[in-house]
């Protein structure tokens, strides 16, 4: 977990890792791939294949159903699609139920009809589908109440673990530290001479 006050560059770091902003060669390496060395289109492909992303809010395409939202990465990444055993729909349902969502009642409702807590869990399922190597989460819990926060974090870290994905989360909330193996304060990183 990466912690730091707002405006300290956490989101910028995530953008750099996910390859959305231009970064110099050799600055960021993910799964032994130098992100900065990749051309723009390759970075998009790499992101689709190897990363799952979760944001604070507005994670879902409002006019798609929960299941369709979860399956979005599979439309852009053959690799993640290929890693799923069985049908895509079954996998989406499995993830939903493991994250505490009832696939029967919620699977086909429009994303805009879900509560914020449910939306975040659908977003988590989307980040997890096709077992990407790394999951980047940008304050996914800031819109949730304390209790929902705990259960969400619990389920997310559990699922990340079971699929073997690294979970990198940025947050200013120190109450979530116990879900993570390592907690780094971004203010330490930005000190000259310190490397992560």
């Amino acid at each position: 977990m990466l912690r730091g006050p707002s405006g300290s560059g956490k989101s910028t770091l995530l953008a750099a890792i996910s390859g959305v902003t231009d970064i110099p060669t050799g600055a960021v390496t993910v799964a032994s791939q130098d992100i900065g060395a990749l051309p723009v289109s390759k970075r998009d492909r790499f992101r689709a294949d190897h990363m799952g992303l979760i944001f604070q809010v507005f994670n879902l395409v409002p006019w798609l159903s929960a299941v369709d939202n979860i399956l979005l990465p599979c439309r852009f990444s053959k690799r993640r699609q290929g890693r799923i055993d069985g049908t895509l729909e079954d996998e989406a349902h499995r993830l939903m139920s493991s994250l505490g969502l009832d696939p029967k009642t919620l699977g086909h409702s429009k994303a805009s009809a879900l509560s914020v807590g449910q939306q975040q869990r659908v977003a988590a399922a989307r980040a997890l589908i096709g077992t990407p190597e790394i999951i980047l989460a940008d304050e996914p819990t800031s819109a949730l109440d304390p209790e929902a926060k705990e259960t969400f974090m619990h389920m997310l870290s559990q699922q990340a673990q079971s699929s073997g994905a690294a979970l990198l989360m940025v947050s200013h909330d120190s109450g979530l530290d116990h879900h993570f193996d390592r907690v780094i304060n971004i203010t330490d990183l930005t000190q000259p001479g310190v490397s992560a």
């Binding site: 953008a15 996910s18 959305v20 723009v40 944001f55 507005f58 979005l72 852009f76 990444s77």
Partner: protein, 424 residues
């Protein structure tokens, strides 16, 4: 693809309106094109078998319209002697005299000889044929076109009464002389369908009788004199009245056309003109060309307006869809995927508009067809689409795609600038 469809479905109200706008514009441009083409072919078909039309000197277009299409009149008549004069010219195969000026319930009545049915050719050389009965034999026989028969429910044996004047309003009925229908012509899809043919003798009789009704003893005497004069020449025509309106000429040798034309134009006894139907048609098209072009320009403008409407729809939705695009980016969509989505959306909307436009166009043609063929003898042609129209539609589709590049380019810049941050 499914994403685009679902996204459009999410905005189905606006999308439907846009499709409708494109559909209407497509239907309009197709109708204008088809109507123009059909009018031209139909007119050309009506006049295709006649090499020359001889009438009192006047405007070529007016003569053509009056004789072949029964619209308007040729003005003064010409004397029956001209028929014999023309017949004896070298290169002339046949000459059929015409009398006009009466109507039957709005359909033009043509007085002619039965040779008309042998010689008149339409639609690239097809001869007239009878669906029922045959040509007239006696003075009070009549032959009607297919449209007349269908509209008025006439068949062989029906008696009809003609009215004086060319308009639909019967000012004076020729009550005294009913005609009996002896034949109904097969449909030709030309002006012939809306004509009523009677014998020259029958036509002449109506007018002679009304002239006698004016009680001028000298006129009656003159008539009698003329009648005996005519009889001397009646070797192959039967009766030729002393006043007719026009003569159709068929040539045995096409190269004779200029010679005949000059001979007719320099005829001493009365001022005559020999009109080549195809030349007169060209003149007609050059007159109507301006109006046609204005109409086409307008329909192109309507299509352009509908395209702009589509660009407006796409552009207006962009702001609202920023979040959607950012999410798609985060799950691995490249900026060009997003651009492609916009272009695909535009192509889908345009294609849907074209399809609906075709449906509107075809149903409109089905409804308009009987009206057009009844009023003007113009048929739209059974063809669903011709090559030109397909090209036209493809052009519209291309422009739809091109028009979408503007919002697509904006989206490209937007997704690059926004990255994954979803500020709203």
């Amino acid at each position: 693809m499914t994403l685009v469809l679902q996204s459009l479905w999410n905005r189905r109200f606006v999308a439907t309106l846009t499709v409708l706008a494109i559909a209407l514009s497509v239907a309009l441009i197709l109708s204008v094109e088809r109507l123009r083409d059909s009018a031209r072919t139909s007119f050309a078909n009506s006049a295709s078998g006649i090499d020359l039309i001889i009438a009192p000197r006047g405007n070529d277009v007016q003569i053509l319209l009056a004789t072949v299409f029964g619209v308007g009149s040729t003005g003064a008549g010409l004397s029956g002697d001209v028929v014999h004069m023309v017949e004896d010219m070298p290169g002339v195969a046949w000459a059929v005299p015409l009398m006009q000026g009466d109507n039957h319930q709005g359909f033009p009545v043509i007085g002619t000889s039965s040779e008309y049915f042998e010689h008149f050719k339409h639609s690239r050389g097809q001869a007239l044929s009878f669906a029922k009965g045959g040509a007239f034999i006696e003075t009070h026989d009549a032959v009607i076109g297919a449209e007349v028969a269908e509209r008025l429910g006439y068949t062989v044996g029906t008696e009809i009464i003609n009215a004086h004047g060319a308009g639909a309003v019967a000012l004076e009925q020729h009550d005294e002389a009913p005609f009996e229908i002896t034949g109904v012509l097969t449909r030709t899809h030309t002006a012939v369908d809306r004509m009523v043919f009677i014998s020259l003798a029958g036509f002449d009789e109506l007018h002679v009788e009304s002239a006698r009704g004016s009680a001028d003893p000298f006129a009656a005497l003159a008539e009698a004199d003329h009648a005996s004069h005519d009889n001397e020449h009646d070797h192959d025509h039967g009766f030729v009245p002393d006043q007719i309106n026009a003569i159709y000429i068929g040539l045995s040798n096409r190269t004779a056309v200029l010679g005949v034309q000059r001979a007719v134009a320099t005829y001493k006894a009365e001022p005559l003109a020999a009109v080549m139907p195809n030349v007169a048609l060209l003149q007609l098209w050059s007159i109507t060309g301006t109006a046609e072009n204005a109409l086409r320009l307008m329909s192109v403008a309507v299509v352009a307006a509908s395209m702009i409407g589509m660009v407006v729809m796409l552009s207006a939705a962009l702001e609202a869809r920023r979040r959607e695009f950012a999410i798609l980016r985060s799950v691995g969509a490249a900026p060009r995927d997003v651009v492609w989505m916009i272009v695909l959306e535009a192509l889908l909307v345009t294609a849907a508009g074209i399809t609906l436009g075709l449906v509107i166009f075809w149903s409109a043609s089905l409804i308009a067809e009987p009206l057009l063929s009844a009023r003007f003898g113009v048929t739209l042609g059974g063809q669903l689409l011709n090559a030109r129209e397909v090209m036209l539609l493809l052009t519209v589709l291309c422009f739809g795609g091109l028009a979408s590049l503007l919002p697509a380019w904006r989206v490209y810049r937007m997704t690059l600038a926004d990255g994954l941050t979803t500020r709203l």
